[in-house]
Symmetry: C2
Subunit: 694 residues, 2 copies
């Protein structure tokens, strides 16, 4: 059951496919009957506070991309898309605004706070037993979902926000990226090394350096003299190039995107109707008004420039939008710095100088100085800040539907809001090469799935700071299960391609497992997308009656038949694992190197050497694997190996399609694989694979 | 067995009590026979590199205050005392330089790199199987210790570096601190709230705001109008005030410390013989030349100002020395900023401006612009950088011996080098209110002990960022075992006194346990100090034959009879614990609330609610507890309760003394407590406590 409450005059976000289809109740004043919550006006006019008392053991799931555990209780979070790459435990804001959460305890309810402005979630931070949501002025819509299991509540939510984005199947292959690939030869080397050592690879990502002066929809002619030819050269090696697109458009005479945008009035403007100027990678830029329907269509059409050259995948970046500085404020800062110059600084003045410079980036006040034309209204940016990345990605997604109606195009974004999941996936932004971020990667996945972000992933090995070989290996051992499997790192950090390390055979084995597991992973992804289900689930979503399962923060259910328990501690040669039921453990070093063992329900310490992955198969379940391959198109579906824990009978419904078509139907893609107690296998449906039990 | 190798012309650090007593071999050129290591000149003249191949399972312990695990393998560390408060996994330098490590695997050896300049420890970072130590130019002494167990090697090392600092017993009580206590009433409130709620308290710390304009050895007269009276008022309530002392001396006419220092030439000078000017809390400061014997004695004598007013404890801060800016370079920066002003900045120029300002603090080049007079020689600061904090604390320690020969004075420092452990303890600097820093606190303890730093601890609850009630509680549950038990937090963060949270009874219970456990903790501390042993040991130091124990990173042996396993994850209601042998678990909520249970050797999941501490007692061991109290002097030694896991017989040798005397002897303080199989107890020695088995 979904109930809808309207506070003030909210701005329509288009998070829901059809928000009008649900009848809402207008909340005019505090004390009006909102179920579960005590609602009151907080401080500022039309800023609301919703409070809920929690039971000692209540768990809070959700909030999508965020720090901390699967259980979000005990911290305060802000939905306020922010470009801040150092995701320590003390942060409150990340790149995304995913305002759905689920309280599971004395009561079970799903809550979606549909608000494009800043929202604060105090989940037992101020008081251990109290949940308080505070919404900045501007009105919002509250959805309360109840009835059934946690998983059912999520499915109901997913039903109203619409089908998740589906990428082409090649985008489930391994991708190598680094901020710093400068030219054709840099990329050729990546491909050569992977192919030479037999390490899987489907894509190479192109960070900002492929552009001319960081200008969107340009390719540097010196470093990529014949780009379409180079794109084809890579395709001949079964590699897709995936260029980055930034939000800001460089201010430069003669640059058509800039000139056209100015001419048509497509950039965000200040109060005085002149274009807002910010500083990001290209230097001075304007921000396209992605919320303006016409500007959005125009920006989306720009992707054609690269599509026409053979590109079939993109990542949208810097779309919080990130701001290194606002030009007007920068001038003020320089003026103030001049005042300090020559003075004898006391410590207060010294810190004032420091704060002036440190305070330039992502300054809240700057976001209050420009406007959007949105649904016929002029709206100040901060009122709709959290929609910007969503609408940039929507610009692309809508353009792809026009330009490539029959072909899936890879698309994922950094900033996002619920609703964007229909147009693209996301990566979780600039993480660091920290073991704690490996665990955080795992812990984010269920929350992302709840908000419809199925095609998502973190930078494997970590973006900032220096990675070690063991960190990268362990991280890949999680990454092989995650739809967006990309190794990415920052300029200035240690190189992170596998061949920069000593044990190529370990990487070949682990990355090979991705291609081995592809039949299962693609199938589970597609089933989740087409039925509105989650692919990554907290254990408690599958074993709701098990109190021990509710406390597990470092294992996940992956699809229907599998549980994973990655090692995320340096120097560990194993880890503790909780089994809510008897399971069969497959300890894998590669597609051809695995051993299995049935473990009883309960707590276990399980050995896992640095090059070993633990896969747990549930009783009565079958997990199909391929024989592997070095890219997705080489994965042979005619011959499957079946992980299985079958005593009486086990069935797996394998989904498969051409990996390109947009118009897909679940029932058309199913192959039913039946494993009987006597170890015979029968298949029926789309495919007729040879099957081998392993 | 200790072997000593001299590379180049090293500067004597006085890390050892008598470095001349060990015969050394001069290493003139690479290839000369250093056991275990391949030594070669690296890059720069007289910069050496020592390399060692590691076995797959070798563990590296040590490096004292550092990030990452008990096992230091898999990262690169730098000994280069640095004021950097954000201790993420990517950091290489912290506040201290603790150059002792122990390799345990195919071979077992202790290594001490006695070098006051920067040393880099690549412990399997560049290559998983290789350990490389690189010492910056300037010569150094290498000590290699072999023979016996890990614990024996550490004891041998401790034997040559001398007896650890012993604080007064009251310093084992709970201390409350916050940067931001401004005046008498702020402190009175702290004391009142603790006494009112029956929460233990022995000390309140005074951060920089007690001073007049941050001038060392001054007290703000407005806010503390009669300081000696206030000190006495606090002593009447059994509370000790512990003021901070910073390294830099404010440049201010009329300020006697400044004027005398200039007159006598006691400050560090630049090449041109003028005093170096840096910026820290007081604004412009000079740095006393702590390495100069006369200046050191002079600086030490300044503590008399506060000793005379009744103060009996201090903490030395900012003594890396921290540098917000060097004055000469600040002028250069302002000049450059002026050049940029008014220009249209491209992105490179923008980052150049940002880097100019961000690069001011702790700038390496600034440390090369001033000099010390050390042992009759003029030495550039960077050559002896890591000694500064050591010698500042030595200044105090030597002064206390002169000024208070019969009374222990509390002293601990932020920056340190091996050798300083004879003059004071340390706290581990500006950590953050992060769960990961709770674990890091635990993981640092054995390494600190190896280098003689027994009286040490981290800021409980975390200094930077905002703490939650559960984090503080869980952190205190570790903190009650740690000699320096202090709750400290930064200005601008959430208040962290227990009474800012909702569950005073939980804090009363947990902090009460500290006073309950005091007989054991003080006794174990003193035995470790007087015999050169460790108080906190990795499990493998006690169970060297147990391969599982070697991998345990989140439990510690505390003294002879106890193992601890704190919970360090938010929302956890228990944790996994590995027992190398059968142990008796005491689950405690306070001195009067505990339950026990014998657990067999092996892996366990053990329940531990938020207000519960797990204490494991080893077979055949006895752990004496008091009945608690609200301060150390109220702990009643005439009545003891005995935690015990005794089947045949168990003996505990309890050490006790007056808690003040400096001249202590182990054998004079022992009370032998014998628990027999029939549950009778017999005591013999210094004390005659009534004993009750619990």
């Amino acid at each position: 059951m979904i109930r809808k409450f309207i506070f003030g005059n909210p701005i329509e976000t288009e998070a829901l496919v059809d928000s009008q289809s649900i009848q809402g109740m207008s909340v005019e004043k505090p004390g009006q009957g909102i179920p579960h919550f005590a609602a009151r006006l907080a401080g500022e006019e039309s800023s609301w506070e919703l409070a809920l008392d929690m039971g000692e053991r209540d768990i809070i799931y959700g909030l999508g991309e965020n720090i901390r555990g699967i259980n979000k209780r005990g911290w305060i979070y802000e939905s306020n898309c922010t470009d801040d790459p150092v995701h320590t435990e003390g942060r409150r804001e990340l790149y995304a605004a995913h305002n759905f959460f689920l309280v599971d305890g004395r009561e079970r309810l799903g809550v979606f706070v549909d608000a494009p402005q800043k929202v604060t979630f105090d989940f037992g931070y101020s008081r251990r037993d109290r949940l308080v949501v505070t919404v900045d002025p501007g009105g919002f819509v509250l959805y309360i979902l109840e009835g059934g299991s946690s998983r059912q509540i999520v499915r109901e939510f997913r039903g109203i926000i619409g089908r998740s984005y589906i990428p082409p199947r090649w985008a489930f292959g391994y991708g190598q990226s680094r901020w710093g690939y400068m030219c054709e030869d840099d990329i050729r080397q990546v491909v050569r090394e992977h192919r030479k050592k037999g390490v899987g690879l489907d894509s190479v990502y192109m960070d900002i350096d492929y552009m001319e002066d960081y200008k969107d929809f340009t390719v540097n002619q010196e470093r990529f003299p014949d780009f379409p030819r180079f794109v084809q050269e890579m395709r001949d090696q079964k590699v897709h190039l995936v260029p980055i697109i930034d939000a800001g458009v460089k201010i430069q005479e003669g640059y058509p995107v800039y000139e056209e945008g100015v001419k048509e009035g497509y950039f965000c403007k200040k109060e005085d109707q002149t274009e807002f100027v910010g500083g990001v990678w290209p230097g001075r830029v304007h921000f396209p008004d992605m919320l303006n329907e016409k500007a959005r269509a125009w920006f989306g059409d720009q992707y054609k420039f690269l599509l026409d050259q053979g590109i079939d995948g993109f990542w949208n970046d810097m779309n919080e939008p990130a701001l290194f500085y606002g030009e007007d404020h920068l001038a003020e800062v320089f003026e103030k710095l001049e005042e300090y110059s020559g003075q004898e600084l006391d410590i207060q003045s010294f810190f004032a100088v420091k704060d002036l410079v440190l305070g330039l980036a992502g300054r809240k006040e700057d976001y209050r100085t420009f406007y959007h034309e949105y649904r016929g209204q002029r709206v100040r940016h901060d009122r709709v800040h959290n929609l910007y990345g969503y609408y940039m990605t929507r610009a692309a997604g809508e353009a792809f539907d026009r330009l490539k109606p029959d072909k899936r195009i890879l698309m994922f974004s950094r900033a996002s809001y619920v609703g964007m999941h229909r147009y693209g996936g996301l990566w979780t932004g600039d993480n660091c090469s920290w073991w704690s971020h490996l665990l955080m990667n795992l812990q984010m996945l269920p929350g992302l799935n709840m908000c419809g972000f199925l095609y998502s992933g973190a930078d494997l090995g970590g973006f900032g700071d220096d990675a070690t070989e063991d960190l990268l290996l362990r991280w890949l051992e999680l990454g092989i299960f995650v739809p967006l499997m990309r190794n990415h790192s920052a300029k200035g950090t240690r190189r992170q391609e596998f061949y920069g390390f000593d044990h190529a055979e370990d990487f070949r084995g682990i990355i090979g497992l991705r291609y081995g597991l592809l039949p299962y992973l693609y199938s589970e992804f597609m089933k989740a997308a087409l039925t509105g289900d989650m692919m990554f689930l907290p254990l408690s979503f599958v074993y709701p009656e098990d109190p021990e399962a509710a406390g597990v923060e470092d294992q996940l259910m992956v699809g229907d038949g599998m549980m994973i328990a990655p090692v995320y501690r340096q120097n560990a040669r194993g880890r503790y694992v909780y089994l809510p039921e008897d399971m069969k453990l497959y300890r894998m070093r590669g597609v051809d190197s695995l051993e299995s063992q049935v473990l009883p329900a309960g707590h276990h310490y399980v050995r896992a050497e640095l090059n070993e992955v633990l896969v747990f198969v549930r009783r009565g379940h079958v997990v199909p694997m391929s024989e592997g391959g070095c890219c997705v198109e080489d994965v042979d579906m005619s011959s499957l190996r079946l992980l299985h824990f079958v005593e009486t009978e086990g069935v797996y419904e394998l989904y498969y399609d051409d990996g390109e078509r947009k118009d897909v139907r679940l029932e058309e893609g199913i192959t039913r694989i039946l494993v009987r107690a006597d170890k015979t296998v029968e298949t029926e449906g789309l495919l007729s694979p040879r099957c081998q039990l392993i």
